[in-house]
């Protein structure tokens, strides 16, 4: 993307949306994720300057939900009271900036997991953040999935969410280049303990973890990364994901993102109208751990096949034993 003049491109698009007097300045590339680029900049309109973020999905990248769908679900979530950076503009063309993009408010705070944990410890707000995360998920899950007009991604297989997830996991494990008995044991446990379907299916963000949230000294400020949101699923899938050991970043005894134990998280969830279900929560923790092992293996396959020539992807395969360990601990007989 080095040959693209981002400032000029963003100026053009913002002028089309907001009028001819928009000025763009102070551009800086804040993060270059594996699949998308975030550019922070100032936009001045009629004498007022706003700090904004452009999230750009480079052309040719595999996407889970198209950017318009991601922007639309963020809108719906914001109206339901979930903290998200407000979306101002979304374009599916975006030739001038390198691909489809959306522009949203810049929210001050920490996103890098270990820095988030340091901040949370300094200000003694671990329980608060866990509670707020629970509240946010409850508000998201309160939305009637049928009220979301945008087509979001769905589980790859039919059936109740756990059945669909298990089929997808089975296929992914079968596609691995190596047989892994620990993953087979995890699958066997998931089959044996298949839970009843949820009383009602909800929208599932699917990736609300430490690393995908913005935290300030006053607590949770925004939930990010809505690209993997599912149209419909088991709300306990969402609750379980931030409880994986992988997202505690060495604070192993603090189940929820390294912030706190599960009590404030569940209290937050239930006080905002959610219903916690322990058995399904545990099932989805096991499922999520196995799925992340397979996900890491997939990253390494992308490296080995030359699709993503990144050393970070190369290293992913060597992280599989960590997930296998976590999985075995979760299914201790």
């Amino acid at each position: 993307m080095t040959d693209i003049d981002l400032a000029a491109g963003l100026t053009t698009y913002l002028r089309e949306a907001w009028g001819d007097d928009v000025e763009v300045s102070n551009l800086s590339q804040s993060t270059a994720g594996a699949r998308r680029t975030n550019v922070v900049f100032d936009a001045t309109v009629k004498g007022t300057t706003r700090r904004l973020v452009a999230t750009i999905v480079p052309h040719g990248e595999t996407i889970i939900n198209p950017i318009e769908a991601e922007a639309a679900v963020r809108d719906v979530a914001e109206k339901a009271g979930v903290a998200v950076p407000h979306v101002h503009l979304v374009r599916s063309d975006g030739e001038l900036v390198g691909g489809p993009f959306m522009i949203s408010d810049f929210v001050e705070g920490e996103t890098v997991p270990r820095r988030v944990l340091r901040l949370v410890e300094q200000h003694g707000i671990g329980e608060l953040v866990a509670r707020q995360l629970g509240e946010s998920l409850a508000r998201l899950h309160a939305i009637d999935p049928a009220s979301v007009s945008v087509p979001l991604r769905r589980h790859e297989y039919d059936g109740p969410p756990a059945v669909a997830a298990l089929k997808s996991l089975r296929a992914a494990v079968d596609a691995l280049p190596q047989r892994r008995p620990a993953l087979e044991l995890g699958l066997k446990w998931l089959e044996r303990h298949l839970p009843d379907p949820p009383e009602r299916e909800t929208i599932v963000h699917s990736d609300t973890r430490n690393g995908n949230i913005i935290v300030g000294e006053d607590g949770l400020r925004a939930v990010l990364d809505w690209e993997g949101t599912l149209a419909s699923g088991d709300p306990m899938q969402d609750l379980a994901w931030p409880a994986l050991r992988m997202w505690r970043f060495r604070n192993d005894d603090k189940e929820i993102g390294g912030f706190a134990g599960r009590e404030p998280y569940i209290e937050g969830y239930e006080s905002a109208g959610g219903t916690f279900h322990e058995e399904r929560f545990h099932w989805w923790k096991v499922e999520g751990t196995a799925r992340w092992a397979v996900g890491l293996a997939g990253q390494t396959m992308a490296f080995l096949e030359g699709r993503v020539p990144s050393i970070v992807m190369a290293a992913s395969g060597r992280r599989v034993p960590e997930l296998e360990w976590d999985l075995l601990m979760l299914i201790r007989p």
Binding site: R179, A314, E324, W325, P333
Partner: protein
């Protein structure tokens, strides 16, 4: 036959250089990649030092569990778990797999197995 240093010592030196000298000197967008590279150099160092013994132990544990020596014990065990319905065997397999995971982690992420909670 190569002259010394041996491969693990070279990888240790590369890891140390990346971690201590290169990491602070590169721009922020490269730091994560350099950190991962340093981690991988020391990981492969451990693999060269510990791998042969770890693999032999894994083969022995699998042979004990399966009751026989086979060509691809991981695949045989994976099939037995997938196609079987024997919780007692699965419980024994769990014990074996925990021991094997400890061997893998001694190379891939030392210390990860010191926490046994959920």
């Amino acid at each position: 036959m190569q002259f010394v240093p041996e491969a693990p010592d070279l990888l240790a030196a590369i890891g140390k250089l990346l971690d201590e000298k290169v990491l602070p000197a590169v721009p922020s967008h490269l730091q994560h990649q350099v950190r991962v590279a340093a981690h991988l150099a020391t990981l492969v160092e451990r693999e060269l030092r510990l791998g042969p013994e770890s693999n032999a132990r894994e083969a022995k544990l699998l042979a004990e569990l399966l009751g026989e020596e086979v060509d691809d014990p991981q695949a045989v065990l994976a099939d037995r778990i997938r196609d079987g319905d024997d919780p007692a065997f699965e419980a024994r397999a769990w014990e074996t797999l925990v021991e094997i995971a400890r061997g893998d982690l001694a190379i891939a992420k030392p210390g990860h197995d010191s926490w046994e909670g959920q």
